[in-house]
């Protein structure tokens, strides 16, 4: 028997069975990160299973009170989905700045989540839209708030034997104003220096239900709660600046190959302020 094993299951049942039976089975989606780390480590994964063909992980459909996005939906599919464009335009915008066309054709939203890079561009958007995750296990399927998924640097709440099946975004969030900004060295094919997503319900005198989330500024994608507090409620002249300041005060980014901690804090403050102003003016 060959020392290597690989499979392309068609159903979740089949996939969960394989996952239960084969120790060290690596779950692969679009492989746009896995292939790179595979190369860098010079150690090829020996047992791999693709989730790209699993029926239950496909599609972008309204289901009950949610928009259900299958974990194997690619960013190309998300970026051109009428449902996403209509209800959650910031998710479509994020999808269209992830890598280039070729990456968007392979990379999946489930892969972006489970790969758990702090620089994942779709992740702050999911935080800003109160997304939930549908996680399939050998015995049952559970639902968790997306916010509780990233427990530490590159560590997720996914237990052994579980597969991320779908992302659910409550349709209630579609009435919120939404804003998304990615700062990188160029418009396409670049890993973010800072990425921010926001949403809020518009009230007569200001905002309610404010969500501010950022990527590449901490070990995991984070909600910036003090910036949210600064924006919540009655709007006044200094509100946006206060939110920017609060956002920058809330994180301690790092220096790395893509940027410096100082630049990240500075740019985070600037774009949070600008995005808040744009949302207030209705152009966010």
């Amino acid at each position: 028997m060959s020392p290597y094993r690989a499979g392309n299951p068609r159903t979740l049942d089949e996939a969960l069975t394989f996952l239960g039976e084969i120790p060290d089975l690596v779950v692969a989606a679009g492989c746009t990160d896995l292939m790179v780390s595979d190369l860098e480590s010079r150690v090829r994964q020996t047992h791999v299973m693709s989730v790209l063909g699993i029926e239950e992980l496909q599609g972008i459909v309204r289901e009950g009170d949610d928009l259900r996005i299958g974990a194997a939906a690619t960013f190309a599919q998300i970026g051109r989905s009428d449902e996403v464009l209509k209800s959650f335009p910031i998710l479509a915008r994020a999808a269209r700045v992830i890598g280039g066309w070729q990456i968007q054709n392979r990379a999946t939203i489930g892969g972006n989540i489970v790969n758990a890079s702090p620089a994942g561009d779709s992740l702050p958007v999911l935080l800003a839209l109160d997304a939930k995750l549908e996680i399939a296990g050998p015995k049952s399927t559970r639902m968790i708030p997306y916010e509780s998924m990233h427990v530490d640097y590159r560590k997720t709440a996914l237990a052994a034997g579980e597969i991320l099946a779908a992302v659910r975004i409550p349709l209630a969030a579609e009435t919120r104003v939404q804003s998304f900004r990615k700062v990188g060295p160029r418009a396409a094919q670049a890993i973010s220096k800072v990425v921010v997503a926001m949403s809020a319900s518009r009230a007569r005198d200001g905002f309610r239900e404010v969500r501010v989330a950022a990527g590449s500024v901490a070990a995991v994608p984070v909600r910036l709660k003090s910036a949210e507090d600064a924006l919540e409620g009655k709007w006044s002249k200094g509100t946006a600046a206060k939110a920017g300041q609060a956002a920058a005060g809330e994180v301690t980014p790092i220096d790395d190959v893509r940027s410096t901690a100082h630049y990240r804090s500075w740019v985070l403050r600037q774009i949070v302020e600008r995005m808040a102003l744009e949302m207030r003016e209705g152009s966010g």
């Binding site: 392309n8 595979d38 990456i103 054709n105």
Partner: protein, 166 residues
Amino acid sequence: MTRNVRHTLPFGGGRPRAEFEVNGKEVSVEGHPMERLLDVLRERLQLTGTKEGCGEGECGACTVLMDGEPVLSCLVPLFQCEGHSVVTVEGIAEIPAARAFLERFVEAGGVQCGACTPGIIVAAWALLKQNPAPSRAEIIEALSGNLCRCTGYEGILRSFLPGKGA
């Protein structure tokens, strides 16, 4: 929406093998499941038109079509090719409808050192199939995943214009 993936490459017995289509021909390749499609094309199938640039998904030189959509062959593992159809730059050269574009690409100076050319041809052809008259902005977005380090982008853009290289 469901991708056309057959559930072969079973776990367990036998040597891992993937059966798929390359430029219209069925191929059956035995190998490590994580072997890069790029290496399979160049070293096993002798289709050396596809080039390796960065090898990590940044430059677009190794672009091929998978089920009609451009993908980076350095990031596609062999086992995920099972049941799919792959078209390389050699395949596009055989398409009569692509001939006029390829000629304009040469006339307009779309080729400088040539390293990025196969990937650009593949992405450009995919764009033209979906959108026969793309705007400048649409071309730039579609080719944003293909880097040309001779910075010869103007020549590449001109090759999309109708008629001779403007």
